[in-house]
């Protein structure tokens, strides 16, 4: 008997306000043409001042629970991947639990850059396979605009806000579910993508605020170079661990950081357009939320069928990269 974690529910939340490239032209020195050719992004959604990572996460979670036809009280664990927690502590996972239900549920935040969602899925899958947990909420939520420097033209155009949530459920006798995962991290490239201030290395000070150290900093070209290598490696290694090859993959759901990174992987694998999900044009890089958003969109468009081999793949700060290979169905 093989116990596997199956995707029993999926929910997403995207804030209402839209920031277009034309809007950005008025804020920083940039142009729609420059942004589109270098990133593929046309607009992104921006959380309101009253919205936080946990409020977006909670809404996405409610939708995932409805989709799974269970209630929050049925959950026995919450894994929340985020890089912009409401507060460093207490955890966003505990905040979400509190917003969902009176019932205490164990959980924690997981920080692995934009790869956090992939890490969360593997963590939850392992917890389920241990036999100790049966219904786990895996959240990917970020309010990246809260750490985006709108005076930095190289990063201001990239990010949006959103949340996604999966309900992973134990199934004791199934061909469906998470087949394998591949996680990786290499701190050598840590400085390429970093929020320098606010931790024990550089506690908040007047100077850290004045020199904008609490904003996300990125070395674009070097990060791009890393990502172009990391994405295909993660896809191939994840599939290999499931005893599969690129030819077996029905749908690739890559982290939506930059269209050019996805295009490089599509060229390398010679994927036809129907085998890869791309929606970066409308949401920008929403960090750990890009994969749930893209997967949900593919599902709504009828692109997911029971038995399909779906590969989720991401790369991000750490540097981290990884993939989950899922046989779709519940």
């Amino acid at each position: 008997m093989i116990t596997r974690a199956v995707v029993a529910g999926l929910g997403t939340y995207v804030p209402e306000a839209v920031l277009t490239n034309q809007d950005l032209e008025k804020i920083v020195e940039t142009s729609d043409e420059w942004i589109v050719t270098r990133t593929g992004i046309r607009e992104r959604h921006i959380a309101g001042n009253d919205e936080t990572t946990s409020s977006m996460a909670t809404e996405a979670s409610r939708r995932a629970l409805r989709d799974a036809k269970i209630t929050a009280e049925d959950l026995d664990f919450i894994v929340c991947a985020t890089n912009t927690p409401d507060t460093i502590f207490p955890s966003t996972a505990a905040r979400v639990q509190h917003q969902l239900t009176e019932k205490p549920i164990p959980g924690f935040d997981l920080q692995a850059g934009c790869t956090g969602l992939i890490y969360g899925m593997e963590t939850a899958s392992a917890l389920i396979k241990s036999g100790k947990y049966r219904n786990i909420l895996v959240i990917g939520a970020d309010k990246l605009t809260s750490i985006t420097d709108y005076e930095d033209r190289t990063t201001a155009v990239l990010f949006g806000d959103a949340a996604g949530a999966f309900v992973l459920q134990a199934n004791d006798n199934t061909e469906f579910g998470i087949l394998s995962s591949y996680l990786q991290a290499d701190g050598r490239g840590g400085d390429l993508l970093i929020q320098p201030g606010g931790g024990s290395l550089m506690p908040a000070s007047k100077e850290s605020v004045e020199t904008r150290q609490h904003y996300l900093k990125m070395n674009g070209n070097e990060t791009f170079r890393f990502a172009v290598k990391a994405l295909p490696e993660a896809v191939e290694e994840g599939l290999k661990r499931a005893g599969l090859e690129v030819g077996d993959m029905d749908l690739l759901v890559p982290h939506q950081a930059n269209l050019r990174i996805i295009d490089a992987a599509v060229r390398r694998f010679e994927l036809s357009p129907e085998r890869v999900v791309i929606n970066i044009d409308r949401y920008g890089n929403t960090s750990v939320a890009t994969i749930p958003l893209a997967l949900q969109e593919a599902r709504m468009e009828g692109r997911l069928h029971d038995g399909d081999v779906v590969v989720l793949c991401a790369f991000g700060a750490g540097l981290t990269w990884g993939s989950n290979v899922i046989r779709w169905g519940r």
Binding site: T37, R38, G220, N221, E222, R225, V228, K229, R260, A264
Partner: protein
């Protein structure tokens, strides 16, 4: 390393493939950005493709100095 013509031909092939330009445009003096329409990300991908083809690693500060086809060919001849 192989002679200049061989390196040039291989580099040209990669440039044509990566940048989607015509072979005739890839002259020795051609600048990636000014003549071949590349942007910074194209150059990153091009450098990666050259590294893979010639089995070398081009450090950032060296890569920054490669702005023409000639620069690329010379770097490869000296380092591969």
């Amino acid at each position: 390393m192989a002679n200049k013509e061989q390196v040039f031909d291989k580099v040209k092939e990669i440039i044509v493939d990566q940048l989607g330009v015509d072979e005739e445009e890839v002259t020795s003096e051609a600048s990636f950005i000014d003549d071949l329409g590349a942007d910074s990300l194209d150059i990153v991908e091009l450098i990666m493709a050259l590294e893979e083809e010639f089995g070398l690693e081009i450090p950032d500060d060296e890569a920054e100095k490669i702005s023409t086809v000639h620069d690329a060919v010379e770097y490869i001849r000296e380092n591969a």
